[in-house]
Point group: D2
Chain length 314, copies 4
């Protein structure tokens, strides 16, 4: 039997009918209506009904960027959706005849990689998604970790610099401020503003585009612009240092790197690997983990949260 | 039926016969013979035979300060015992008729607190032992975490200061260098050496003892010496900051503080609690954890590793 | 003979007729007209003419918050006035019959303290002004240091945290982000936002005022609110650490603390003194410096820049 | 007329007869006898008499690695010579008919570069000597800065990492721990110990030499070994960051890099220049300084301290 996965993003809601091997059989997308929970509930219900039509479905999983409580019933805090303690599962269940689960989107993506993707051979895996922010998921002993209150795997808020840059979480020095796509863009803008000769190509791209965005930075990386590659390598170094610390606490065998910035491939992964090795505690006395790219990009949330429906019922 | 727990420390080996409720029925101690694995095997076998005599015993668990592999068969690296890849389980099993497990001592102590001590109401718990170094154990979903390679819970090697103090693990800036008893002693010595007036009481204690050791520092703390309390509070602050970072990754509901320095009670725990609260990411939107003292001090290893025998067979 | 000093601030321009002992004989203030250099030139000329009327005057000195070049002719960069490479001296000289000098306002204030104030017994002095930002002035061998390009004494941009908070100067981790009045206000707001019980008094003050400003924080400090005092002490600790580093480079005998926040007196100075002593390199082998409050508050710029006219002609 | 300069090093004492243009006319070396001040006084007297024979000499200057007081009479603290408050000038003057001055060796070297070497066109110069430690000298307004107590220019003890590596001065995080030859050797040893493939060449050199010393690291740098060059570049990056901070306080126009490690030339200087530019506060609004190699290597102390005799009498 199939399961439905829905992934609520900032600009669109994606839904998929997913089989028991993690394949998407049917997929639909609609624009994210607004921050109004009721409109989003309606959109999710609409997508679900379309996807379920004529199919035998065991349930629907819904992933969203926000803190989901440990019971997976409420969205405690979704900064982008401006939700606070939203009883999202109850609202969906009231309008759907199917079993419903909700999950944090990075955890759903982590589960997809663990079940069918880059971590499928592993029993202990970490996912880091490098996008606007830094998201995470932890799988230990083949179990997706939620922690006591549903906050496990918020790896973007590991502190890497005491008294460091201010983070949206209210603290200073989180890895999200040093290892995310936003950090990369901030540093690229600073380089252009500095007028240093090595920033010349980024400056050209800024001038021709009117404004420097992730697209221009990505173009410079693709062209092999040395300055852009250096900024990317610095990003990777911070991430590798963070992984070394996570080895002390969690000890995974594989770290999967996903999110938009991971499209840079080994240009990002190699600096991560190097910094990880350099900073690993007791590195002479322990096996090393692997750092690998994610298999699923845009579909990870849909596949993962659909599979979690299956897990919840098994 | 009872189980036997053996805890190999730097100066003595403690053994106990432990019932199914975590009570020690009989206890024996012998000096740690030397760093020779064979002599230690003989001592463990001797203790086990004495404790098992006339009892119905389901197995023996042995805890040691070292990295134990994920299969719990070899001691990969025991800095204090100078062991490398020692096949400790096989050597013990060859001389004992009982099932044998081996475990890292901090993880054994963590399990004792989880099963019968300060964490017994919890499903997600962290233990930090503050002694010469900083040890740790992580219990998630009521499972003791070992990680892929047996290194999970090495919380003393979470990095808190980039380019910070050199640690015995070969890295810089580990919490062990800021939050351990050794760190406290180092800072106390530095204060005395500085000649600052506020270090006067510590200086007196140093002069009367000939050398400043943990005992003198502890005495100054007991007397309420403001400088010693300030150093202890700084120790606690580093630990609280580390716990805040661990919340992002692991999200426990309770953190148990054990080890010799934890004898200072709330003088240590209150600064930990305050720093934890101050540094918790997204602190306005999440439940808080509790920071509590360990229940078992010297016996935690014996009780925990005996109970892990029971768990292994259930 | 007397000299005229003019201090161009963000909201008002103060002018004074100053005698050869640093006494202000006559003082006038007008609102700062706008950021238009011509209007400001006109205001300075007007004040000067009024103050000079019927007096024998050797020249006029003008202080402004901005980088003044080493020749003291141009204002290279004045962030608050939005000036860039403004030939301020030439514009003033064209309209005044008196010799003109221009100077950075913190350096002028530093000179006032050195010549007639808290540093008058010293030959090596540093001034730190703790206001919205952190300003500075260095006097070595009884000479006001300007550096090669006019940037010496920009002590607010000493880096104290690698990869630290972003500063208005484009760099990260400057002491201005940790030791200024703005830093104090930022931390006070964060404490109120956290909802922690110890922030209760600051929260009350915020609610009754509608918004938390420096005034409310200062009121809490005056009342002895423990949380506000703790934030102030942390500010002082950062400043003391910075002074310890400056001892290695410059080795002054006295550090004068001025600026609005210095009104807190020993509540600020004692934490500075303590952190300085704790962090001084080779502290057992060297004399210690003194940390003292500024003598002149609002008038320091006027007195100092008038005296610098005298120095320039001697 | 000529002056005599004597430079007391850890293994040898060098003496030279120096003309009024900074040329060494005659030079002698003897082994440093011991740490006994009397034996060193005798050696200095002997060298002086030999050099002065048949010459018209205005005085003798003696440089040593230690803190020299502001009156240049006593050596307050010389860690390598184990001297404390040694009245060195008085002891020398008692046995010599010439005027005597004493000076810190890095300051003497800085003066040589300022008067006749890489800084001779400048009025504001900083010298950084990168040897076992990091030494410094500051010249502002063409005056060698000594500070109030003789400690100005101790640039190796600028703090670059809060809670960083422990320094011989008793503090943590001094640039000497990150930017010296000792730091380079420490990092090279750590790389070899890590067993990482990129450390292969350094490992070979260690094995063939029996131990890794500065010579082996320098050989790897000379051969273009990428790992050794990377370690050297990191050293340079820390130094460049420190120079950026010194610009805020002192604002020199040229920074001269001397000491044994400076033999690496642009392999060291280019990373310094790059890091300086990247970290300079308000870098878009200010002239840049130059980073140049020292002109004098082993003779800088002799030339500089001889010239300071001349300055003292002019």
């Amino acid at each position: 039997m199939h399961a439905i996965g829905i992934d609520i993003g900032g600009t669109k809601i994606a839904g998929g009918l997913v089989d028991g091997s993690g394949n998407i059989l049917k997929e639909l997308r609609v624009p994210t209506p607004s921050n109004d929970p009721e409109a989003i509930v309606a959109a999710v219900v609409g997508l679900t009904n379309q996807l379920a039509q004529g199919e035998s479905v065991i349930g629907v999983g819904v992933a969203a960027a926000g803190f989901v409580d440990a019971n997976r019933e409420n969205i405690v805090y979704a900064p982008n959706l401006s939700w606070r303690n939203e009883p999202f599962k109850a609202k969906l269940s009231a309008k759907l005849d199917l079993p419903v689960i909700i999950e944090n989107d990075a955890r759903a993506a982590g589960w997809a990689e663990f079940a069918y993707g880059a971590g499928k051979e592993a029993s202990h895996m970490i996912l880091l998604t490098i996008g606007t922010g830094v998201g995470g998921a932890v799988v230990s002993n083949s179990q997706l970790q939620r922690g006591k209150f549903g906050f496990a795997g918020e790896l973007g808020h590991i502190r890497v610099v005491p008294n460091g840059l201010l983070c949206g979480c209210g603290q200073h020095g989180c890895i999200e401020q040093y290892g995310s796509g936003s950090a990369l863009l901030r540093e690229a803008k600073a380089l252009v503003a500095s007028g240093e000769p090595k920033g010349a190509r980024l400056k050209e791209l800024q001038e021709s585009a009117g404004e420097l965005t992730g697209n221009e930075v990505y173009q410079a990386i693709s062209e092999g612009d040395p300055a852009a590659l250096e900024l990317l390598a610095e990003l990777g170094s911070w991430l590798g240092q963070t992984i070394a610390t996570l080895c002390a606490a969690i000890d995974p065998e594989v770290v999967v790197i996903g999110g938009g910035v991971s499209a840079a491939g080994d240009l990002l992964l190699n600096p991560i690997r190097e910094a990880y090795l350099t900073h690993l505690p007791a590195r002479d006395y322990r096996p090393k983990l692997e750092v690998v790219p994610a298999k699923f990009l845009n579909d990870a949330g849909v596949i993962g949260v659909a599979d979690l429906v299956r897990v919840a019922q098994s």
